[in-house]
Amino acid sequence: MPISILRRVAVSIVLLGLSVGLSSAAQPSAATYPSGVITFVVGATPGGATDIVARVVGQQLSKAWGVPVVVVNRAGAGGEIGAAYVAAAKPDGQTVLVAPSAFGVLSGLSNSLPYDSLRDFAGVSLMARTPSFLVTPSARGIKTIAQLQAYAKTKPAGLVYGSAGTGSTGHLHALLVATGAGFKGEHAPYRGTPEAVNDVVAGRIDYAFSPGPNALPFAKDGKLTIIATTSTLGDTFAPGIQTLEQAGVKGDPGDDWYGALVPAKTPKDIRIKLSSEIAHILTLPEVRTSLTAIGGEAVSSTPDEFDAMLKQYIANVRTLGHTYGIELQ
C-alpha cells in the first residue's frame, strides 16, 4: 500500500513539473514568433485607406515570413469593435490591430469605450502618415487662410465647413481653423469625405479638410483651391502650400496616421521583431507606391516611439475635446 501511494505521489510530482515546464515553454517569445497565421484586424469596411495599408503591408509580411497574413474586417462603431476584439485577443503577436488616427481620436473624445487605448494596447509601429488639405471652391479666389478670414467677415452668418463626421480628424482641423482665424464656423457632417469634397466643389459649403486622393484631382482640374495642409508632408503632394502652423493655427493634432498595435501583454521582443520587419517592408517601392496612391507616405517607428506618439496624440485630442466641448459616445 505505502509503495503505491509513494508511486502515485511521484507520478503527480513529475506530471506537475512537466506541466509547469510545458506551460512556460508555451510562453510566446520572439524565437518562436510567428507561430502560424497572423491576423491583421481592420476596424473598417474593406476598401478604405486603413484596409489598404493593412493589405499592402500584410501581403509583404506574408512573403517575408512565409506565414499567411489574413486581413479581417470588423467594422462598426468607428473602429471600436475591431479594437475591442484585438484588446481581448491572445497577447502572442498573432493578432495585430491596424488602426488609423481615428483610433486615437476616439480614445481622446469618448468616455464609454470598452477598452483603454493606452493600457490595453501596446504599440508596434507607425506605418504611414497622410496629410490633409484645406480646400475651398476655386470660384471664390481664396488662396490663403488670411483670405478665408477676410471672406468670412463678409458673411455675417458665418461659414459652413464639411467633414467626414462629428469627431473625425477633418472636423477637428476645420474647427481649429475657424476658431484660430476668429470666424463663426458651422459644422456640416457628411457620411464620408468624398461627399463633403463634392459639396465644396459645388460651392454648397465653404471649406473642408480632405486627404489627398479626394482633393488633388479636383485641384488639378481647377475646381478646388488647396489653401493649407496639416504638415510639411503635404508638400510632396501640393508644393508651396503653407501648413496650418505656419498660418498661425495652434493646437492642431496633425496628419492622419496608420499604425499597428497588439494587445498590451505581448512580449516586447515580439513587438520589436514585428516592428523591424514592418520598417523593412516600408522601404519597398511597391509598398511606397500604394501608400502614395492613398495620399500618404511610409513612416516607420519603434514600438516605444509609437507608444509615445499615441499618448501625445490622445492627450492633444482630449484637450481639444474639453476646450470645444466635443464628446463622442
Binding site: R55, V56, A77, E80, P189, Y190, R191, P194, N214
Partner: protein, 523 residues
Amino acid sequence: MIGQSLLNLMQGFGVALQPHNLMWSFFGVLIGNLIGVLPGMGALSAISLLLPLTYTMHPIPAILMLAGIFYGSQYGGAIGAILLNLPCHPPHAVTCLDGYPMTRAGNGGTALGIAMISSFFAASVGIVVMIFASPLLVRAAFSFGPAELFSIMLLGLLAGATLSKGSALKGVAMTAMGLLLGIVGTDVSSGVMRFTLGFPELSDKVELVALALGLFGVAEFLQNVNRMQVIGGGTKVRLRDMRPSAAELKQSFLPMVRGTLVGTVFGAMPGTGPTITTFIAYAIEKRISKNPERFGHGALAGVAAPEASSHSKTQVDFIPTMSLGIPGDPVMALILGALLIQGIQPGTQLISEHADLFWGLIASFWIGNVLLVILNVPLIGVWVKLLRVPYRYLYPSALFFIAVGVYSTNNSLFEVGEVLVFGIAGAIFAALDFHVAPVLLGYVLGPMVEEYFRRALLQSHGDMMVFLDHPISAVFIAASALLIVFQFFFRAKHARGVQRGSEAFPVPQDAERLAPDGRSSTH
C-alpha cells in the same frame, strides 16, 4: 466627341477581348453569379476574399475580374428572390413581391427568363449611357445637392407607400416601422447614437442584408413550417414554361424600358443605392398599370421593371465612382480600394491617364453581361428543378446559407442574431396580414430624407425656403404635394362610390396562399 468615344471603345474592346483578360473576366462573372445565388454572401465578401489574388496581377485583368464578380452577383441574386422569396442581394427584395407568387403559380421559369432579359437590356443601355453621357453625368452629379436629393427621396417615400397590398393604413404603419429601423445607429448630423440599446454593433445601423433576408426569407420559412408543400410541384415543368412566350416578352417590354430609365436617372445621383431605384420603378409600374391589383400576385411588370432599374443604375453608377471617387455601394468602394492598392487613383484623371483600363473595363461590362446571359439562360431549368427538392431539405439548407451569408457581411455573429429577430418579426407581421416590403423602403429612404433635410437647412443657415428656391427641388416638392392631394381626392371618390353600392375598385381576396393546383390552403 462621340467619334472619340467610339474610337476609345473600339480600343477598349481590343483590350477586353484579349484571351488573358477575357479569361479573368469570365472567372469573375462565374464566381459572381454563383455567389449571387447564395443568400447574404454578396459580392463584398467574394471580392474581399479574392482581393489578395489581384496583388500579383496586372491591374486590368484584376479589375475586370472584380467588376465581373460585382455584376455577376446581381444576376444571381434574382434567382433566389424569385424562386425562394430570398432576396440574396437587397435590391432584389422588390423582385420577390411578384417573382415569388409567379413561382408558386408554376411560372418561376418565366419570371427568371424575364428577369434575365430585363437585366441584360438595362445593362446594355446603362453601358451606352455611360459611354456617351459620362461628362453630362458628372456635371449632373454636382447639381444634385441635399435640397434636391431630399425632395426626390420624399417623393419616393410617398410614392412607395403604394407598394402596400391591402390596407393603406397597414402600409403606412410598415413604412413608419421601416423609418424607425432606419434611425437606429449613429446620427450623421449630430454624432448621437440612437436606439442602439447599448449594442456597439448597432451603432452603425441595422444591417440591410439581415433585414431583407429576415423579413422576406426567414419569415417565409417560419410560416411554412406547418405547410410542407413543394412549390410548383404537381405541375410538370415543361421546357415551354422556362422560356417566356412572345406575348409575355411584349408585355414586359415597356416596363423594362421604363425601369431602365428610372435606373439611369438615379445613376446620376451619387450615393443613392440601387435598392431605391427598384422601389421607385415598381411603384411607377403599379401606378400606371391598367390592372394594378395584379401587382403582388404575379405581374410580369413587377419583375421586369425593378430588375431593369437595378442593373442600369449599377452600370451608370460606375461613372461617379470612377471619376468622383464617390462609391454608390460598399462593393464599389472595395473595387476603388483594389485600384488604390495597385497605385491607380480614381478621379477625373483616371480616364485620361489610364485610358486602356477605363475603356477596357467598359467594354468588359458588356462582354460580361453577354457571358452571364449565356451562362444563365440554360441554367434556368436547373434552378427551377432545384425547387423539386422537398421542403424539409431545401429550407434548412437555405437557412444555413442565410446564416453563413449574413455572418460574412461583418464577420460577426451579431448579424446572425439580427436576421433571426427580423425573421420572427416578419413572420408575426405576415400572420397579422401586414406586408413587409414598405419596411425596407422606409429603412432605406428614411435616414437619407432626414440627413439631406438637415444638411440642406444647415447649408442655408436655417432658411426653409431653400427647398423651393432650388428649381429641381421645387418641382419634386410640388409633385409630392400633388400626390398627397390626389390620394385624398381618390379616396374620397372611392368612398362615395362604395356608398353608392358600386365597387369602384374591386379589392381582391389575398390570392397568395393559393396552392399551385388551385386549392386554397386554409390556415
